[in-house]
Amino acid sequence: MSIGHTLLGLLESGPRHGYDLKRAFDEKFGHDRPLHYGQVYSTMSRLLKNGLVEVDGIEPGGGPERKRYAITDAGVTDVRQWLATPEKPEPYLQSTLYTKVVLALLTHRDAAGILDTQRSEHLRMMRILTDRKRKGDLADQLICDHALFHLEADLRWLELTAARLDRLAEAVTR
């Protein structure tokens, strides 16, 4: 995730202090990974240097945490461009799991067992997310759904590979 663009976007609704920005970020997007203060201030310094934000005011007491930041026109343009640019889909071509399965077949180990164990581990995570989703608000539900759909895709691959293990064994040991 681009922290810089996200903080810029949060500034569009009005100027904020670094602390407010961190709180808004954590509340909406941080979930399991809250921002460190250091990340906020280093990001704001960079945005300031690049002219995407400006200091709107400094409260008495000094220190960087007292600065209030406002987004500039260049900053608004930058956020708009970022939102309009599609994210590059992950190609998912470097799969550790695939490597493990092939190595297991090459060394005559239990490849089906590797797939079963992985399925169980994926399901364990899916249970945690399903439970969190059940207890959470809409934002939580959507975040968990995103993760659940990805895990589900992995599981479908596991099933498909399990069904093709004999053919794969032939292919890799030929």
Binding site: S120, H122, L123, M126, R127
Partner: protein, 233 residues
Amino acid sequence: MTAETMAPAGSLLAAHDLRKAYGPTTALDGASFSIHPGEVVAVMGPSGSGKSTLLHCLAGIVPPDSGSITYNGRELATMNDSQRSALRRSEFGFVFQFGQLVPELTCVENVALPLRLNGTGRKEAERAALTWMERLEVDDLKGKRPGEVSGGQGQRVAVARALVTNPRVLFADEPTGALDSLNGERVMELLTEAARSTNAAVVLVTHEARVAAYSDREIVVRDGKSRDMERIV
């Protein structure tokens, strides 16, 4: 060793080394299974792996060729047909992929049907049926016939019908297979909540990981053989 001693301690329903063939086709080839009260166990595996046959054997619908099944300490094979039917009517509940509601009856009559078949009077049966329909959030459909409700609603009615006798084991065979994601999830939430609140065990046959994620653990059936993942990991 007797069948009873092979059942894991505290299990409500257990099967050991089940084998079943339909002509030349082997459906089960040494499958085992156990479930405790209040537990939700997903039976997973690809199409044709034998998971539905396992469910049918566990529920006493189909007899295995060999192997043992014990329910609450009793060997199913020692029961006659009428005893097994009575067991299915009073102790087991069933939900299938398509609700299989009786089209001529209203939804509340459908839900009340298992109680009526057990001899409960109409008023009392429908009162109990309505309580379950409220829990499944379909009480407003009581006067409608199955053809007048959506797939998701019909499936919730089917879940209410399966639970109305307070079964100790609920068998669910691809219960969300015919539903979209949102409806499927709601059915699974309500089904597992309702089952847990009554300490019913749920045998959940599914090939969908998102549905299996509502379970406490899973067993995998492949080529008629079962693999209990809890004991492996």
